[in-house]
């Protein structure tokens, strides 16, 4: 039997809200899909297109960027910048022949442990449905 496809997802979480939310998911012993590897950054605004695109070009099946809810940013406005950058990123993904849904921006607060689990599990499920990153599975691309 063919093994079920298990995606490889990179998640950039901001230190103040989303990373703390992920910690809370853990300390509340919530099951979270292990497809996602967490990378901590101070603010979601630090995640430049370079990082997201590198991850995709090197074969990540999906990239999640998570920051504080709008208005909650520890640095006041960082997450707004992250949001703006995302519109462009989605377009670039299309140019690369990637489904724009492979990248996702989510707001997860420090008290939303359960939501963190929901966001990650749903994203992992969506990516599983999309299948492997075409840039790696199709050598012609």
């Amino acid at each position: 039997m063919e093994k079920k496809f298990k995606p490889n997802i990179v998640g950039f979480l901001c230190n103040w809200c989303s990373y703390a939310g992920a910690d809370l998911a853990g300390s509340s012993k919530t099951d979270v899909d292990s497809s996602l590897s967490v990378i901590r950054v101070m603010c979601s605004s630090r995640v430049n297109s370079n990082l997201v695109l590198s991850a995709l070009l090197w074969g990540s099946d999906g990239v999640l960027v998570a920051g504080c809810h709008p208005g909650d940013c520890h640095y006041e406005k960082g997450n707004y910048y992250a949001r703006r950058r995302f519109a462009l990123l989605k377009k670039i993904a299309e140019v690369l022949n990637l489904e724009p849904d492979r990248i996702q921006l989510s707001w997860i607060s420090a008290s939303e442990g359960k939501r963190y689990a929901e966001v990650v599990n749903k994203f992992a499920e969506d990516i599983s449905k999309l299948g492997p990153n075409p840039l790696t599975s199709n050598p012609k691309v």
Binding site: G26, V38, V41, S45, S60
Partner: protein, 563 residues
């Protein structure tokens, strides 16, 4: 120097081994080049654990350390300190979270183990790219520039001045006191001692540590917490145009408020109709103890109209209900036969003593009339009619005198000073606090604080409280003889890659980046930068690096995640 990495896996009692096969982790990690040692320990954050870690770092002569344990939120600082005590640079350390985000959220032991291995390997790769960052220390000036000589500025100056701290108090008019100095009396439960303002002015004048500049403007402010330079320009007759440069460690803005211009909205009839006066004019009448109509007669009936400008400005000014109540009390106490009507939209009585003050006014016979809005104030024979709507029905009152309580609006200097100091304004044009909830007197510019009505409408006690709050913030951060320690993990710009587009200037909330026109590049002031990395994310040429979160460091983590 040869890199020697030590990897320490904390068991956290049963928590981690229950879900993660630590032997397998050690086996996998041991085969990595540059990893000198991989060890497990039952509880690294315990005193014994910390001692073991310190001694092992020394014994193994490690250059880099990776600790795989709980969340960095729990013990990153703990282990950085241990590294430092063991003679290492604490930034050549990486904490890997294999408890919260691994053992505790992945139920399958095999999966959790391979995830832990992935995370730790990423940590090992990452730490190799770490720079030995250093905590800087900056000399400071502890003096303070206070802008605005109203009650807020006066109180801040008095609270801050001390034998080792000089205060420069700059006031644009020729005397201290501001709006509070113009009031006839303060609310009874806030003390009817209006003399208080006078007493405070005297205290300022007699304080040898406070230098007062009247009829003066602040023309320029540059710098950061502990090191500001400002230029004060005098408009005094004999000193006109004379500029003085002063050096301070912090700046307090106490530029107060102005009254909404009632002429902006013709429905109030202000300036057109005799005996329609503003609240401030009525204060002067009380001051001179002459409540009179233009014809010299005493008014038999007075309407106090609240909320003028509330709809126009989009906010409630908080203090008007109370001071019109003060007027009503004054009228009832001094002109016993006078008929007093208060026309209000909502009674805003948010302080614990306010309601009883209102109840007392009611007992004295003051009539309270709820309205949705004033339709028109107009003359009708000898009387003035105030037409209003309530519950969609039109109604009116007819009186001899109308006193209008206008909204409080930002003072004229606000936008100019905001530009000068690179401070944000809110939607109403007042200064915006750094954090509306938790940092109500601070601004994005560390070392610049705001107090009183410059932040929005508030009463005198609240303004004075905020002045003490700015004093608290300053006295705890600028201590004579102490140095300030700026953030270590800041942004830096590579000049040869910077195109001078200045995108980063516009995204930096803290004003930490400036443009050097001679070199044509942007420059980060490390004393101001807080290390969020917004500029890194926005730089189109990749010229900005976020120390400790560099592209290469994060890239190692990405690569390991995908292996």
């Amino acid at each position: 120097m040869n890199k020697k990495i030590g990897v320490y896996v904390c068991e956290c009692g049963p928590n981690i081994p229950e879900r993660i096969d630590i032997d397998k982790v050690i086996e996998e990690l041991s085969s990595m080049g540059e990893v000198k040692t991989v060890k497990r320990y039952s509880l690294l954050c315990s005193n014994d654990g910390k001692k073991f870690l310190k001694e092992d770092i020394e014994k193994e002569e490690l250059t880099h350390v990776v600790v795989a344990a709980c969340s960095p939120k729990e013990h990153e600082n703990t282990f950085m300190k241990v590294c430092e005590e063991a003679g290492m640079n604490p930034y050549l350390f990486q904490m890997v979270n294999i408890r919260e985000q691994c053992a505790w959220m992945i139920p399958d032991k095999e999966e959790a183990t391979s995830k832990a291995i992935k995370y730790i390997k990423a940590g090992v790769h990452r730490v190799l790219f770490h720079d030995p960052l250093k905590q800087k220390e900056l000399e400071i000036n502890v003096d303070v520039l206070v802008i605005g000589g109203g009650i807020s500025g006066i109180e801040a100056s008095l609270s801050l001045a001390g034998p080792n701290r000089k205060i420069h108090l700059v006031e644009k008019t020729d005397s201290l006191g501001g709006m509070a100095g113009k009031l006839s009396q303060i609310l009874p439960h806030q003390g009817s001692k209006i003399k208080l303002v006078k007493e405070k002015i005297e205290q300022v004048e007699n304080n040898e540590n406070i230098h007062v500049y009247t009829s003066s403007d602040v023309k320029e402010v540059r710098g950061f917490l502990g090191n500001f330079e400002a230029v004060v320009k005098s408009n005094q007759e004999n000193k006109e145009g004379i500029e003085e440069e002063i050096k301070v460690g912090a700046v307090v803005l106490a530029t107060g408020f102005e009254m909404f211009d009632l002429k902006e909205n013709p429905v109030y009839g202000y300036g057109e109709i005799e005996n329609v006066v503003s609240a401030l004019e009525f204060e002067e009448m009380i001051h001179s103890e002459k409540i009179e109509l233009k014809n010299g007669k005493k008014p038999k009936s007075v309407a106090l109209v609240h909320c003028a400008g509330r709809k126009e400005k989009g906010y409630c000014s908080k203090v008007c209900c109370l001071y019109t109540l003060k007027f009503a009390h004054y009228l009832k106490d001094n002109l016993p036969d006078v008929d007093v009507k208060e026309l209000y939209m909502d009674l805003c009585l948010p302080h614990k003593q306010d309601q009883s003050y209102f109840d007392q006014a009611k007992e004295k016979g003051v009539e309270f009339i709820r309205m949705d809005e004033v339709e028109k104030i107009k003359k009708s024979g000898d009387k003035i009619e105030v037409e209003y709507r309530n519950n969609d029905k039109a109604d009116k009152v007819s009186v001899d005198m109308v006193v209008i309580a206008p909204a409080m609006v930002p003072s004229q200097d606000t936008s100019h000073l905001a530009e000068l100091l690179n401070l944000p304004l809110d939607k109403s044009g007042f200064f915006k606090e750094l954090h509306e909830m938790l940092d109500p007197v601070a601004t994005p510019m560390e070392g610049v604080y705001i107090t009183g009505c410059a932040l929005g409408p508030r009463n005198i006690p609240e303004s004075m409280t905020q002045s003490h709050a700015t004093s608290g913030k300053i006295l705890s951060s600028l201590i004579p003889g102490r140095k300030v320690k700026p953030e270590v993990k800041v942004s830096e710009i590579k000049e040869d890659l910077c195109t001078g587009c200045q995108t980063c200037l516009s995204v930096c909330f803290y004003g930490a980046i400036s443009y050097d026109p001679f070199k044509g590049v942007s420059v980060v002031n490390e004393a101001i930068c807080r290390g969020c990395g917004s500029c890194v994310g926005s730089c189109p040429s990749g010229a900005i690096r976020s120390k400790h979160f560099t592209y290469y460091q994060l890239y190692q983590e990405v690569m390991e995640a995908l292996r």
